[in-house]
């Protein structure tokens, strides 16, 4: 294994960038902040790649099975001999994959932002926040125990909050950052309770030990956690479901997804990094981390994961078809793809070839990170050009921005699942896994994949075709700087070739390679559906026409409901503002102002009136004091003479 120092440096370099740029950036590095951040990230990326290489090819495999290796471990907080919170670095296949994905996408975003954020007054602060985020995310994937992951989980939430609210002059950005923070915090409450439940029964926080104790059949811990129950559900299921609730909040699963579309208020490269490729898959990562417990001990909880994922995937795809803000379309498509990853975990089993879903989920996470961040960065380039997020302000850009156009097209083909682009391979694995385990989920997945192709090409045509090229008078600057083009090109290459990475032999639930291949006949149906979706989008959106309008009118209420995101936000507003505020908030506020504060005010008033009464005795006159003194002495004398017995 490569030296632990190198692995520890992977998250620590971005942290150093954050500290340096955060403390001194505005004063000393207002111009060079981007370069410093990017170089730091480059180092981290190279270290991640070398760590991944070391692990996958040299030291990770023992007897054909990938091991979990804890490279660093020390006790952080010791409460009593048996109870301590440790910090450590854990290396296993999903960790090295996430290391590579996070550091690489972050590097691309750093590079892209050099051009995109140029001239911002808070340029250095922006890079400091990016550093903080990258540190937290890398720390999250390296965490060796469940409490440590929770710390980094919250740090990720904070940096996401800071970056969404980066343009804090805009009220909408402030509202969006608050919303994201509150919704994910609410979910994290569940996560924390889940952690407490699991660690209470397993007597450990460490992932390796926890998983071992809760999966070995007949172990006293497993018996205890299964025996304890609340509302007829076992403590294990409660613990896992609550942990999943945290994951669902971060990964924007229905019904905790409402923050993700609003989070698009942040700068576009940030959306590419946080809300597409890395942070939002933290929930998937968490479920994958605890996957043995889910799969071996509690299939019921895994079913919840499966149905939540499948429903979110479909639900988001429908909404994505109706949105007009290009970043919101991408946000819903992200939610939909993460739904894919979730239900792929849900349909998976633990052992050997049955772990196809797990592998497919991780594979999709891997490929999705590249093509989705590419889509976001492409959208960023477009927004940079036309200064608008709305589809109607775009169209006909393919001549003006050739590189963006080609890379965007590649990403769309990848997400639509057209061979040989990367999304095809990962989606096939997921579809195969769901086909083998649950036909209903398979049908939903197939339908969603058709919808995905449709809305992605709706987006593509609306941006790059639809109108004649000369419709734009704002082509006063070109496609963007070289630093904006390089990430697009690199990510486009990866979106093409990432599907050929042999994830199946590296990342599996039980560490052994999967060798099954998918018969070509199986691929016919999904690819046909995807092509049908693309053709439909071509018919409707390639040239500007009335057809989409007419269809929208014919769909009537359904279209309206979808474009209003099925009124989920309104439901939340109703529940919080009308129900919670009136039924709980107001009585609590009344109790606080009248009873709690009232008691304190009463005490204060009593003290004040008493002191008002007696303050005259402190007159400031020496002779008065002398009089009191003599009076006191006289009183004492009388007491001593007549009352002392």
């Amino acid at each position: 294994m490569s030296h632990p120092i190198y692995i520890a440096l992977i998250p620590l370099i971005p942290l150093a960038c954050f500290l340096i740029l955060g403390l001194f950036g505005r004063k000393y590095f207002s111009n060079s902040a981007g370069i410093i951040g990017t170089l730091g990230l480059l180092t981290s990326t190279l270290l991640s790649l070398s760590t991944a290489y070391e692990y996958l090819f040299v030291s990770g495999k023992v007897n054909g099975v990938f091991q979990k290796i804890e490279v660093v471990k020390f006790t952080w907080l010791q409460f009593s001999p048996g109870v301590s919170i440790d910090l450590g670095l854990l290396i296993d296949p999903i960790t090295v994959m996430m290391l590579v994905v996070v550091s690489f996408v972050s590097l691309m975003v750093h590079l892209f932002s050099l051009g995109y954020m140029k001239g911002e007054t808070r340029f250095a602060t922006y890079y400091a926040f990016l550093g903080l985020f990258t540190f937290s995310m890398l720390g999250l994937v390296l965490s060796s125990n469940i409490f440590q992951i929770y710390l980094f989980w919250e740090l990720v939430g904070v940096s996401s909050f800071l970056l969404i609210g980066f343009y804090f002059e805009k009220p909408s950005a402030v509202a969006a950052s608050k919303k994201a923070f509150i919704v994910t915090r609410f979910a994290d409450l569940g996560f924390l309770i889940g952690i407490l439940v699991l660690s209470f029964y397993s007597h450990t926080l460490d992932f390796g030990v926890l998983i071992e104790r809760l999966t070995t059949s007949g172990s006293p811990y497993l018996t205890a956690i299964n025996a304890a129950s609340f509302l007829g559900v076992s403590a294990l299921t409660w613990g896992l479901l609550l942990v999943f609730m945290g994951g669902a909040g971060k990964s924007a699963m229905f019904p905790l997804h409402i923050w993700l579309p609003d989070a698009m208020e942040g700068p576009t490269p940030v959306s590419a990094l946080i809300h597409a490729a890395t942070m939002v898959v933290a929930g998937v990562f968490l479920v994958a981390r605890l996957f043995p417990v889910f799969a071996l001990s509690d299939p019921a909880a895994l079913n919840v994961v499966m149905y939540t994922g499948a429903f979110s995937a479909f639900f988001a795809a429908v909404i994505a078809c109706t949105q007009t803000d290009i970043k919101r379309v991408l946000a819903y498509s992200t939610m939909s793809q993460i739904g894919y990853m979730m239900f792929a975990l849900g349909v998976s089993k633990y052992n050997g070839e049955d772990g196809l879903g797990y592998m497919g989920s991780m594979f999709h996470l891997f490929t999705h990170a590249f093509f989705k961040s590419l889509l976001f960065l492409g959208a960023g380039a477009v927004i940079h050009m036309v200064h608008s997020n709305e589809m109607k302000d775009m169209g006909g850009l393919r001549k003006l921005m050739p590189i963006t156009h080609i890379s965007f097209l590649i990403a769309c083909l990848a997400i639509a699942g057209i061979p040989p682009f990367s999304g095809f391979f990962s989606k096939e694995e997921i579809l195969m896994a769901s086909f083998e385990s649950n036909k209903l989920i398979y049908a939903v997945a197939l339908l969603t994949s058709g919808l995905t192709a449709f809305y992605m090409f709706r987006l593509y045509y609306s941006i790059f075709w639809s109108k004649p090229a000369d419709a734009h008078h704002h082509g006063h600057h070109g496609e963007g700087t070289l630093s904006m083009k390089i990430p697009l090109i690199l990510l486009a290459i990866l979106a093409v070739v990432a599907g050929f990475v042999p994830i199946a032999s590296w990342i599996t639930a039980d560490g052994t390679a999967i060798h099954s291949s998918i018969p070509i006949t199986f691929s016919i149906l999904p690819v046909t559906l995807a092509v049908a979706g693309i053709l439909l989008a071509t018919r409707l959106f390639k040239t500007s026409n009335e057809l989409p309008e007419r269809i929208a009118i014919q769909m009537g209420g359904l279209y309206k409901a979808a474009s209003r995101k099925f009124y989920i936000d309104e439901v939340y507003l109703f529940v919080t503002k009308k129900v919670l505020f009136n039924l709980i908030g107001r009585p609590a506020a009344w109790f606080d102002t009248n009873i709690v504060d009232g008691f304190m005010n009463l005490l204060a008033k009593l003290t004040a009136s008493l002191s008002e009464l007696i303050k005259g005795y402190q007159s400031g006159k020496v002779q008065d004091y002398a009089l009191y003194f003599f009076g006191g002495i006289a009183g004492l004398i009388i007491a001593f003479i007549y009352l002392w017995k």
Partner: protein
């Protein structure tokens, strides 16, 4: 020469003491107040000497005590006069009614 009874001397000292108390409470001038305090001290001295002479003529404790009191009264007068001088410097007056800022 007939002996003066002890009670007469005690009446004298009691009278002297309450003259002092009266002066302390009624005079506003600090010098006068200081003089009143001296009167009270001296009435106590008379008591000590008288009790010593009439009750324990063979002992000297009462006389020693009155010498100590005279010494302390001298020191006390020095401190009091220093205070009075400082008061005069800050307030241009030695009237105690003028120095009543230290109140609620």
């Amino acid at each position: 020469m007939s002996e003066i009874p002890l009670t007469n001397i005690l009446f004298l000292s009691t009278g002297l003491f309450f003259i002092g108390v009266y002066g302390l409470f009624t005079r506003r001038n600090m010098i006068t107040m200081l003089m009143s305090v001296e009167l009270m001290l001296n009435s106590v001295n008379i008591n000590f000497v008288a009790f010593n002479k009439y009750l324990y003529p063979e002992k000297l404790d009462g006389i020693f005590f009155s010498i100590f009191i005279i010494t302390i009264a001298a020191a006390e007068a020095a401190v009091a006069i220093a205070i009075i001088i400082n008061l005069y410097r800050s307030h241009h007056s030695i009237d105690v009614e003028d120095a009543s800022e230290m109140k609620y």
